[in-house]
């Protein structure tokens, strides 16, 4: 049995399908990233897994429990940081840890937990006065109080500056090294790429791609290609004098030639040399996760997780989702 098994999960708000029949499993000890723009259905999915939200359909098993019906006992075995984590304003991280330990009726070393999340310097600062990164670390610390084997982190670094984000990443990596199973939602590609063993890309309530980042790129991205900076005449010359498929990007003045075999690059370059025309920089490249992601969600995602440069119709449908 896998720690998390999701089959055909559905959740509707009014007439809006927030999660539309998704299925996946999470393996023990892996970091599983749910990646997608705002309104894709990530938080709804993770909250259903945490037992904070009731599902409308499908099967969900988390550590063998139905998270909604068995939430009370499940919560003793998992750790969670909800999105936009907040806590009692006039309570320090250390006091918060002691409070949680009392509620769980367990003995913990609060200072060790504070060291684990790199928060020992602010142990006695009231929550009100903590920075955004320190607040998130407090959330992480609290999610560790009951020594869970499984952690749910809902957008743990949204709104943090790059340094704070990297500090949280460091903590997440050390938790992974301790063998914890981690489910992470994010709209930051680099975060998903840096931390996750496997990623599911969500859009409009569906999983549009899933696997390791390499698997996703090879399934959904183009293969390796040769790119030559040059004029359109050169592109036409290569096309006429080789068997190769040649594309030309007039805006960037880049000739792009998909490589079925690496040796194709040699033929292309030989033709370019033969043409007697000028050509500039050459490189071979393949689609990054970025390229694939932009393709799959039909737009780029900004710092706040909003899609930029998408068509009007999808923008409208996404707005309705919130």
């Amino acid at each position: 049995m896998k720690p998390i098994e999701v089959k055909n999960l559905q959740k509707t708000y009014g007439d809006l399908k927030a999660v539309d029949g998704i299925s996946f499993v999470v393996n023990e000890g892996e970091v599983f990233g749910l990646l997608g723009p705002n309104g894709a259905g990530k938080t709804t999915t993770i909250e259903i897994l945490e037992g904070l939200r009731e599902r409308d359909g499908g099967e969900v098993k988390v550590l063998g429990c139905d998270p909604w019906k068995d939430g009370y006992s499940l919560h003793k075995k998992i750790g969670v940081i909800p999105q936009e984590f907040t806590f009692f304003e006039k309570t320090s991280p250390r006091e918060a840890i002691v409070y949680y330990a009392d509620l769980f009726n367990i003995k913990v070393d609060p200072d060790q937990i504070l060291r684990d999340v790199l928060l020992e310097d602010s142990a006695k600062t009231l929550f009100d006065n903590l920075s955004g990164g320190q607040k998130q670390k407090t959330g992480l610390a609290l999610s560790l109080v009951n020594s869970p084997d499984m952690l749910f982190l809902d957008e743990p670094t949204t709104g943090l500056d790059p340094n704070a984000r990297r500090a949280i990443w460091e903590v997440i990596r050390s938790l992974k090294a301790k063998g914890k199973t981690i489910i992470l939602t994010t709209h930051y590609l680099d975060e998903a790429e840096q931390l996750s063993d496997r990623v599911a890309i969500m859009n409009h309530g569906h999983i549009v791609a899933m696997g390791t980042t390499d698997e996703i790129i090879s399934q959904h991205g183009s293969g390796e290609r040769l790119e030559i900076n040059g004029e359109e005449k050169l592109a036409e010359y290569i096309k006429a004098n080789t068997e190769l498929q040649v594309n030309y990007d007039t805006a960037k003045c880049v000739i792009s030639i998909p490589l079925n075999k690496k040796i194709d690059a040699l033929a292309a370059l030989a033709a370019a040399e033969q043409s007697g025309l000028d050509w500039g920089e050459i490189q071979t490249r393949r689609d990054s996760l970025d390229d694939v992601f932009i393709n799959l969600v039909s737009g780029e995602v900004d710092e706040q997780g909003e899609i930029v440069s998408e068509d009007a119709e999808s923008q409208l449908s996404r707005k309705r989702r919130r």
């Binding site: 919560h75 909800p82 936009e84 907040t86 009692f88 009392d102 509620l103 009726n105």
Partner: protein, 370 residues
């Protein structure tokens, strides 16, 4: 056992946070004391205060001997009544004089007052006053009593019916004694009610309830810990108010165990009601408005600052559906009248309302979302 431990650890964290918040402390402890200082100062020494009344004496004598100057004797008698103090004025237009001195109360002693009295012919004194003013009744009553006394004396009569003044409960009640139960009721209402409206709507907005639902504490335990804190706070503010009342105004306070049920069930009721308002409203702004709509009528109409007996009937009817009314009435029954049966009925009514409100608050209050 687990439940009690969780309530206590939540109580510890919440009370520490509360004590670190100066604003909350002000409303919980200092505000009721300020109220008692203000109201105590306004009404203290009420017994020695007299109403000043402008009087025009038009009497034309005879003035040969003091015994014949009946008008002066009459004014002296009014003065010694201890309820009014006569200020004799010389003016040609008395009503103008009253207006210029922003006074609606005045007395005119007519010409020939003494002569007519001695001749036993009818005399008519004019009393100016505003019938809606509370002072008017006192002036008319005093003038009428002194007139009757003089009428008796004129025919050498003697008063047959006399009376002795006495009070219920206290030997020598001060106004502040009657004020204290109302102000305690006020503090039982305000602090738990407003705090819980605020906390429950803010926690919902900030998803703190979701956060707490991930721990073993239950929503009933969470609410119980808040109630426990507001009981402690109510007891503390009760003792402070009583101490200030006794030390500053020499109040007489009957500290009996009979007060405890009100000081315990009262905060339970209003913390639950605050929770209910915060939980059924969409956001903190709406919660604040609804909280005020529920709280304000109780603040003023439940007998807190003035007895409901001075209000018109329809307002008295409204008072009877306000839960705070039964708490204030109960506190009065215990502290002022020693009416234990009445207090028991009041506490029974309050308990039933509390059970209903508490159950509704726990039932409707959601940790998680559907």
């Amino acid at each position: 056992m687990g439940s009690g431990r969780r309530i206590l650890s939540d109580f510890k964290v919440f009370s520490r946070g509360y004590l670190r918040n100066k604003f909350g402390l002000f409303f919980g402890l200092i505000f009721p004391v300020i109220l008692i200082l203000i109201f105590g100062a306004i009404f203290s020494g009420n017994s020695s205060s007299t109403i000043d009344i402008y009087t025009q004496n038009q009497d034309t004598g005879p003035f040969e001997s003091p015994q014949l100057d009946i008008a002066s004797q009459f004014l002296q008698a009014l003065n010694s009544s201890s309820t009014i103090r006569v200020i004799t004025v010389e003016t040609s237009n008395f009503t103008n004089y009253l207006a210029e001195h922003s006074s609606s109360d005045g007395i005119i002693i007519p010409a020939n007052f003494s002569a007519n009295y001695l001749a036993a012919s009818p005399i008519n004194i004019t009393v100016y006053g505003n019938p809606t003013s509370s002072t008017n009744g006192i002036i008319v009553g005093t003038v009428s009593a002194v007139s009757n006394l003089f009428n008796l004396q004129r025919f050498n009569g003697e008063a047959v019916i006399g009376f002795t003044q006495s009070t219920i409960g206290f030997e020598n009640p001060q106004y502040v004694d009657l004020l204290i139960p109302g102000l305690i009721g006020f503090s039982i209402l305000v602090s738990p009610m407003f705090s819980l409206v605020n906390i429950s709507s803010e926690y919902k907005k900030n998803k703190l309830f979701k956060q707490l639902s991930l721990t073993p504490i239950t929503k009933m335990e969470w609410l119980a810990s808040k109630i426990l804190w507001y009981i402690v706070l109510t007891l503390a503010s009760f003792l402070l108010m009583v101490a200030v009342g006794v030390v500053v105004f020499g109040a007489h306070v009957n500290l009996t165990l009979g007060l405890l049920p009100f000081l315990i069930i009262g905060p339970t009721l209003f913390a639950s009601l605050g929770m209910l308002v915060g939980t059924v409203t969409k956001n903190p702004e709406t919660a604040g408005v609804i909280g005020n709509i529920v709280t304000f009528p109780m603040m003023f109409l439940a007998g807190t600052f003035f007895p409901i007996s001075i209000m018109p009937d329809y307002l008295q009817n409204i008072a009877h559906v306000l839960p705070l009314f039964y708490i204030v009435e109960g506190l009065n029954n215990v502290m002022v009248y020693g009416n234990i049966t009445g207090a028991l009925i009041d506490i029974a009514i309050v308990s039933v309302i509390t059970v209903i409100i508490f159950a509704a608050a726990v039932k409707l209050f959601k940790w998680r979302e559907d």
